[in-house]
Symmetry: C2
Subunit: 329 residues, 2 copies
């Protein structure tokens, strides 16, 4: 396994760097000796939160900017060795009520970023955060990268296009890009104010506030990855030339029903309660049923696999928010 | 086979209706007794040409508007029975040099149109003009609808997203949409000023102007459909409930190399010459090699198949432009 020494002294840009995965990645890169700049727009409905990098403000640069602004991006991509491209609109429901904004962020801004790289920094190494959402309702399980793409919401369609721009710029302009299709990711620094980033966020908030949380349906199977494992995947992909131009699934080491996840969360917390609900009508239309990933491609290509159990992931998450909940609600 | 009586007295909107396929479709719908409105922006680099509907101006409504304008579209979709959605940026090369404009037309405008339908005309029947370009370089031939989508240029990525918006609005909002993945289409009213719409356009122009035309590479196989056959496919799909929410390939009845196509064109014209060239560098990167469609899905579902031979298609095309070339260059 890599010691990630290639990041020491490197110049790194992280879009969405005040968000959940972006901020965890930024902190890890600081530990590895990188010179880190994060970009974030701090749009209230998204994942960015200044508290995510609290205590690190003097060790890295925080640049508040919107990736939809092509002028800022032209300047900001220059001189970077690595660009971790995690800025995005993530809410499925918001993408249906405001499709144009989802398009601007998940498509137009991605094109601007890649155009900026093409014009001003062709040697940058780019890793894009994609999503399992682009597969839609699975034909078979576990879902591998050959599964047809049939997104079931505007967010999925736009993320699919955003991913393909990256592969295109790799193939046509030789800008080294990779894409990771993330499954449900949990851990410290995720958004817990509501379910816009992950439904586990609102579960964690409610259980820590002593309130009942809702399990929609409940029998559907999912896989979960802990954020540290996801951060490791981004780093491994970035430093490995075998990953250039490639798309990889990430996945969890266990499939689990939402009912069992809820029960596990309550057990680890020591108290708490939830109620089972049927899907809200507008949500039912875009639900995908069971989903879990086949991550053997990334395992076989560059040796990544998830290490953290769901129990450990939930425990660390609860510990983090027990201490810091005021900064997230 | 249908007599298309369902279109008699129907209220039809055609976006891109001054363009190649749109104008041929408009004329056919007039013959069938429909009340036709065409929308076109007449952007000089695109397919729209007022001459395409010359002589029909009093029989239909020509509304100059840009599909990127959501306000006009909100009004224009109202009261329609059918919406044939053919407006698009089609040039592969232009999509690489100006990806943002391609995105606006092929993604943002499509979302606006569908949102307008959702808000103001949920009962409209929509048929979208998609493209074989979204398959990218084929894994196997002939290419059926199950072939993975791996577009090789920005235009292909954006058309893929535009198609998926239609399927999504069908599935989630019950707006009846279908998509046709067109292969190379030729015939009267195509753009011949340059190769922005099809390379056959510039071949036809040059041969009629007594100039040598260029065959890039030449051994690659393609299929071609004559525009009247494509128009028939749009009509069959629009009136058939079996086609709702579906995506179909169109295809030609013969695969033919570009060398043979060039030779056939010269023979039918009775004179003319061409030279073989290697691909320009920027074009080579996005070329897909051999391509031809498997159109058995639409044949088996609603009975469409191409009827016009390539020889007949070329002959009718040459006849049309011999008479009208001044209006197209």
């Amino acid at each position: 396994m890599s010691d990630f020494s290639s990041f020491s002294g490197s110049n790194v840009l992280i879009t969405g760097g005040l968000g959940f995965i972006g901020s965890n990645l930024a902190i890890r890169l600081l530990e590895l000796g990188a010179d880190v700049t994060v970009i974030d727009s701090l749009i209230p409905e998204y994942g960015g939160n200044l508290f995510n990098l609290s205590g690190y403000e003097k060790k890295l640069k925080i640049n508040i900017a919107d990736v939809r602004d092509p002028h800022s991006m032209k300047y900001l991509v220059q001189g970077r060795d690595y660009l971790f491209n995690l800025a995005g609109q993530t809410s499925h429901i918001d993408s249906m009520t405001d499709p144009a904004t989802d398009l601007d962020i998940n498509c137009r801004a991605q094109l601007s970023i890649l155009e900026a790289c093409r014009q001003f920094n062709q040697s940058v190494r780019v890793v894009f955060a994609s999503t399992r959402q682009i597969y839609g309702k699975p034909d078979y399980l576990p879902v591998d990268e050959k599964h047809p793409l049939r997104p079931v919401d505007v967010n999925g369609i736009n993320k699919m296009a955003g991913e393909w721009y990256h592969i295109l710029y790799n193939n046509v302009y030789s800008i080294k890009c990779s894409s990771l299709r993330l499954t449900n990711t949990i851990g410290p620094r995720m958004r817990i104010k509501d379910a816009r980033q992950t439904f586990v966020g609102i579960w964690v908030r409610r259980i820590l506030e002593g309130m009942e949380f809702e399990v929609w349906e409940g029998s559907q199977l999912r896989d979960f990855t802990y954020v540290d494992d996801v951060v490791k995947a981004f780093l491994l992909v970035a430093e490995n030339s075998m990953a250039e131009g490639k798309i990889f699934n990430l996945g969890g080491n266990r499939r689990i029903s939402l009912n069992e996840l809820a029960e596990t969360l309550v057990n680890i917390n020591g108290k708490g309660s939830y109620k089972k609900c049927s899907f809200p009508a507008e949500r039912k239309k875009i639900d995908i049923g069971d989903y879990y990933s086949d991550y053997s491609l990334i395992k076989n290509t560059i040796g990544w696999e998830p290490e953290t159990t769901i129990e450990c992931a939930l425990q660390k998450t609860l510990e983090y928010y027990s201490r810091n909940i005021k900064s997230y609600i």
